[in-house]
């Protein structure tokens, strides 16, 4: 049985190539693509992942039926090149021609053609039909090094104390904040920043990567091959309190700045991290053991959230699904079924999980964006997930959302509820009718009815159970009174529960 994809989470290596190369201003990409592959990667999606109006340094060859039908894409790419050259766009730029799934499909290999273009023009075969965005980013970073960095690096000497950051590219969730925090952390440990590649570098400068004594690879998903090629020691960017502390110590060891690194850790405990210590000592941490969490995000975040929220703070991790998917993890089909059945208190994820929660009507679950796909602005540098500040921000976000849950379930006097409303969702009592025979006070419940109520509550996240319990009781008793029953029956509670969608 062929594999069926539900709501694809990972893009292709063509996207990886464009989103990596075009982050550098001295690159111009010709994508060998139909209009759609150009529009989606360069405008429609980065508008909503990276909050940029459009990627300017990319031009499509525009594959039409003509190219697909046998003439090949060479002439279209040639014409695009000539027009770009003639309008002066390519002056001072490294031109890279990138293949797409469709150009690969029709077997278009332009390695020879590009040798006739301006000197230095290259062709990148993106392997878009087989590789995903993560593998793609790793491969393109290494390819850029081999084609634009390595030869110039031979004469460059390593300078002690300098540190590179490898990654992010466009389309990396929360990258500006995480990068900001990792820079601060590196400097705190005694390092000096060399290059942030490719985000804040030009391709011209790529050889300068060789100057750094240590490399920090921002994500576990890509960048390690380039880091290996650079030949210097390298570390992954850290998450959580323990991870970050070990990172600062290790970096201090590598740079010979142990004293500075330890002083930074001590200082951070008194400043940045004191919020976590205070929240731990306060009533907030008492909620952690009953606040369960589901995670769908890049493997870097899955590991970081699991270590910090799970191991360090003690929140139960209900499920975790990495991007790219690791063996044994739930795929989207499995995640969807789980969220339909018993959604946890918090779901970190993409728009896919948000849709599954909407389908399930899971209004007791807090959705926290933590992954693409999905439109979101994450350009403020104060919302990191990585480093010490990331730990504080994550915890702050969770506690505030718990407060929100409590607020939403406090009763509101029913006189303010909408006249057309079916009873306030927030636990407000609806005035009970004054039918003759109506007895004020609690109605008795059949034991089977009570058991059904308990089973329904068991499926909900812990914190909102009290409010949900009161709400369901009120709904059931109202229905019983309307039906002029003397007690709440199992049949009635079944009807009430079926009409609710949690």
């Amino acid at each position: 049985m062929p594999k069926v994809i539900r709501d694809l989470s990972d893009s292709s290596s063509y996207w990886a190539a464009v989103w990596t190369m075009c982050a550098m201003p001295d690159v111009h990409v010709i994508c060998d693509a139909p209009i759609g592959c150009f529009n989606l990667v360069a405008t429609a999606v980065p508008d909503y992942t990276d909050a940029i109006p459009h990627i300017e340094n990319i031009t499509p060859s525009i594959i039409t039926e003509h190219e697909g039908g046998g003439s090949g894409t060479g002439p279209a790419v040639q014409r695009t090149y000539e027009n770009l050259r003639d309008t002066g766009v390519l002056k001072g730029k490294h031109l890279i021609v990138v293949s797409t799934a469709e150009s690969e499909m029709i077997g278009s290999d332009l390695s020879d053609l590009v040798t006739q273009f301006q000197p230095g023009t290259t062709f990148f075969h993106s392997e878009s039909l087989s590789d995903d965005e993560w593998l793609g980013r790793d491969r393109v970073l290494q390819w850029l090094w081999e084609n634009y960095g390595q030869s110039g690096a031979a004469t460059i000497a390593v300078e002690p104390g300098l540190v590179n950051i490898i990654g992010p590219t466009y389309g990396c969730f929360n990258a500006p904040s995480d990068l900001h925090e990792i820079k601060r952390t590196i400097e705190g440990a005694g390092g000096r920043l060399n290059l942030v590649f490719p985000y804040e570098t030009t391709l011209n400068d790529m050889a300068q990567l060789a100057r750094a004594q240590v490399n920090v690879v921002l994500y576990k998903e890509f960048g390690h091959t380039l880091a290996d090629s650079l030949g210097q020691p390298w570390l992954h960017a850290p998450m959580g309190m323990q991870g970050t502390t070990q990172f600062v110590q290790k970096l201090g060891d590598l740079l010979g700045t142990q004293e500075k690194a330890n002083a930074f850790i001590q200082q951070e405990k008194k400043t940045t991290l004191s919020a976590i210590w205070d929240l731990w000592k306060g009533p907030q941490s008492d909620w952690f053991p009953t606040t369960n969490i589901g995670i769908v995000a890049c493997g870097t975040y899955v590991d970081g959230f699991t270590a910090f929220l799970g191991d360090e703070l003690g929140m139960p991790i209900t499920f975790a699904s990495s991007r790219p998917l690791r063996p044994g993890e739930l795929d989207n089909e499995g995640v969807r079924q789980l969220l339909h059945k018993s959604p946890p208190a918090f779901v970190f994820g993409s728009i896919n999980e948000k849709i599954y929660l909407s389908e399930a009507g899971a209004r007791y679950t807090n959705f926290v964006p933590a992954s693409f796909p999905g439109p979101i602005v994450r350009r403020a540098v104060g919302t990191p997930f990585m480093g010490y500040r990331g730990a504080v921000y994550l915890l702050q976000e969770i506690v505030n959302r718990l407060y929100e849950v409590l607020f939403n379930f406090l009763p509101v006097d029913s006189a303010y509820s909408r006249p057309s409303g079916t009873g306030a969702l927030n636990g407000a009592a609806k005035p009970v009718n004054n039918k003759p025979g109506h007895v004020p006070g609690n109605l008795p419940w059949q034991p089977e009815a009570k058991a059904l109520l308990d089973a329904a509550l068991d499926k909900l996240p812990f914190l909102p159970r009290i409010s949900a319990s009161r709400e369901i009781q009120m709904q059931a008793e109202r229905a019983a009174q309307e039906a002029e029953l003397k007690e709440v029956t199992a049949e009635l509670i079944q009807t009430v529960l079926a009409a609710r969608k949690n």
Binding site: D7, W15, P34, G36, Y48, L129, I351
Partner: protein
Amino acid sequence: MSDSIPLGTITQEAKPCQLHPQSMCPAFGSLRVLTRIEGSHPVMATDTGCLYGLTFVTHFYGARKSILAPQLGTAELMAGQVVEGTRAAIEVAAKEPGCQLIPVVSLCVAETAGLPEEMLPKKIGNAEVVLVRVPAYAIHSHPEAKDVALAALLKRLGNATAPKEKKTLALLGEVFPADPLAIDGLLRQMGVEATITLPGRSVDDLRRAGHVGALAPLHPFYKETTAVFRSWSIPIVGGAPVGISGSYAWLKAVGSLLDLDPKLVNDVAEGERARAEAMLKAQPLSGRIFVTGYEGTELAYARLLVEAGAEVPYVSTSIGQDPLVLPDEMWLRARGTKEIVYRKSLEEDVAALDKYPPDVVLGTTPFCAIAKERGIPAMYFTNQLASRPFFLSTGMAATLGFINQTMKGHERYQWMQSFFEGEAVDA
């Protein structure tokens, strides 16, 4: 579909190179229409890059709906599993609760590999399986893909031999939800018994489409859909209820086509004209406006703005030239519009910006960004105009109110421009 995207070295004088065509991925038009139908569970046959991008925009702009697809990578393509994979995805889709319709959206890679229709089931359980071919290499704009999708659905679901309900009308075009209500309200005063709106949310409306007395395309790019209605011997109303003269003429045309009481029709049309004139008097427009979206409705919007007093020297759109657009084109040219560009590129829009510096731009996101870099108020046509009523006098009021408000914001746009770019230029 036969015309191609004009590319490359344009020989006409003073025409810029067309390097960056401006359209959403064409296939998105079809997904938007197909995902919004209740009980419809689309299957997309394509590669992962395409799937990622189209799912992204569909989840943002189409519907909160899970999307299925066969895995189509090198291995599956080499093994010739396009059909098998698609069939497997169809089977999963059929299990969704309430599934009535499974549109199979076939895109570039699947179309290149080949996806023969006869190899797919026509029906599975209660669900109709309808193949919609929208490779971006052959369908050149997002609006035209809406047409292809709707035509495919109607061909399958519409009943050609249905007895006609003479005093009913199908409104054709994705419009703001309040628009069909306003149109329906007025039409009922004229004696119309019912309307349906296509593309809409309901499979039943697709089934009913063959019964209507006439079809009224509100947008000018539903070429294939219109042909389907013609093949059912359903007459087509020309024009659209846009602006003062356009609405008046359209109401009269509907009246005569559906054989309604002429006196009643005349009263309603006159009343609507009076309301529209009063509305225009209350908030006239002035200033120079560009209408440069990719929705295929740009000419109609330009027409409304010109009628309201604005100067619109330049209009561009992603759709191709077609007899359906011709009346609006001629109307605009007769009233001072200098350039109307079909299948436009960013370069053409930018050249017009130099040639006729406008007060307001209603355009694509890349073009709006360039206008804003020059301190010109600019709005994304798709988001800002499609989300407001447009038709009849109520639509005029909403649209013109919005444009007037945008005009007033010019100082803010200039301040932003000088704050972010002015200083750097001076330094």
